[in-house]
């Protein structure tokens, strides 16, 4: 059990990297929104804002579980916050997938994905499980669209984003497994590590934008 606690602590600390990366991407997208008023930037900023908040709630709750630093929270409140964080994460992935869906105006790939949707959602018994599956679906769609974009543009940055999203998707899948097999502590750590590596890969192309670059004098 002691090993389990250590794993949880490492996983919770790693979550904060996700929080930092998500908020950084949201910040760059928000700057882009202010300067270009582009709806794509709005969706990207919203997606990463939701992801960041979701990760942050998960990280704080996780740390609370290990260190008990917050005032005593009732089980109902904790359960509510867990569902809320999963909802935030799912909403983030939804906006990420939604950006692509708007770009292609309901392509055949999305229609196939939506047709397959009920098969997976029916197998989920709990809300968090269902949200985890939804997240996985949304991110999978985002990955397919980003790889398609890479095939079109051949930009290394797009490939890195696609790889990052693919790792995030894999992490979400492992997260789903960890919900099904909660006794396997290592799954929880593995999913966090995969997600964090994915987020860090996502951060590489975003870094140059986050550090500055061209700026117009205020919003247009």
């Amino acid at each position: 059990m002691a090993g389990g606690v250590d794993v949880s602590l490492i996983a919770d600390v790693l979550q904060f990297i996700g929080v930092f990366v998500s908020f950084s991407i949201a910040y760059v997208a928000f700057r882009g929104l202010r300067q270009t008023r582009s709806p794509a930037m709005l969706r990207l900023a919203t997606a990463f804002l939701f992801l960041g908040v979701g990760f942050m709630v998960q990280a704080v709750l996780g740390l609370e579980g290990v260190l008990s630093v917050l005032p005593a929270l009732t089980t109902t409140v904790i359960a509510g916050l867990v569902v809320a964080s999963a909802l935030m994460e799912t909403a983030g992935y939804f906006f990420l997938a939604f950006s692509h869906a708007l770009d292609v105006m309901f392509s055949k790939r999305l229609q196939v994905a939506l047709l397959l949707f009920p098969v997976f959602t029916l197998s989920a018994a709990q809300t968090t499980d269902a949200l985890s599956i939804l997240s996985f679906y949304f991110i999978l769609y985002g990955v397919v669209e980003t790889f398609t974009a890479y095939a079109r543009t051949r930009k290394p940055d797009t490939l890195l984003i696609a790889l990052g999203l693919a790792l995030l998707g894999s992490g979400t899948f492992v997260a789903w497994l960890s919900l099904m097999y909660p006794v396997v502590y290592v799954l929880s750590l593995v999913q966090i590590i995969i997600k964090e590596v994915g987020l860090m890969i996502l951060f590489i192309p975003v870094l140059s934008y986050a550090l500055g670059g061209a700026k117009a004098n205020g919003p247009i």
Binding site: G32, S38, H100, A149, K155, Y209, A214, K215, N217
Partner: protein
């Protein structure tokens, strides 16, 4: 640049172009120069900065496989 050149290059109607030019001049992206009763337009410093920023964020959006 004169409005006739802009109309030719932009392939737009006069009313649409003049509305667009008023908006761009109003936001400070273009400068309107009146010389001998002829209006000429040139990009402002702010316009150049906006173009640079736009290109950068277009690149950023493309990285995510999106269009700005």
């Amino acid at each position: 640049m004169r409005i006739t050149t802009l109309l030719r290059r932009g392939n737009m109607s006069y009313s649409r172009m003049s509305k667009l030019l008023t908006e761009l001049v109003g936001s400070g992206l273009l400068l309107e120069l009146n010389q001998e009763k002829i209006s000429r337009y040139m990009i402002s410093e702010r316009g150049l900065q906006f173009l640079a920023a736009y290109q950068q964020f277009e690149d950023f959006a493309q990285s995510f496989g999106l269009r700005l």
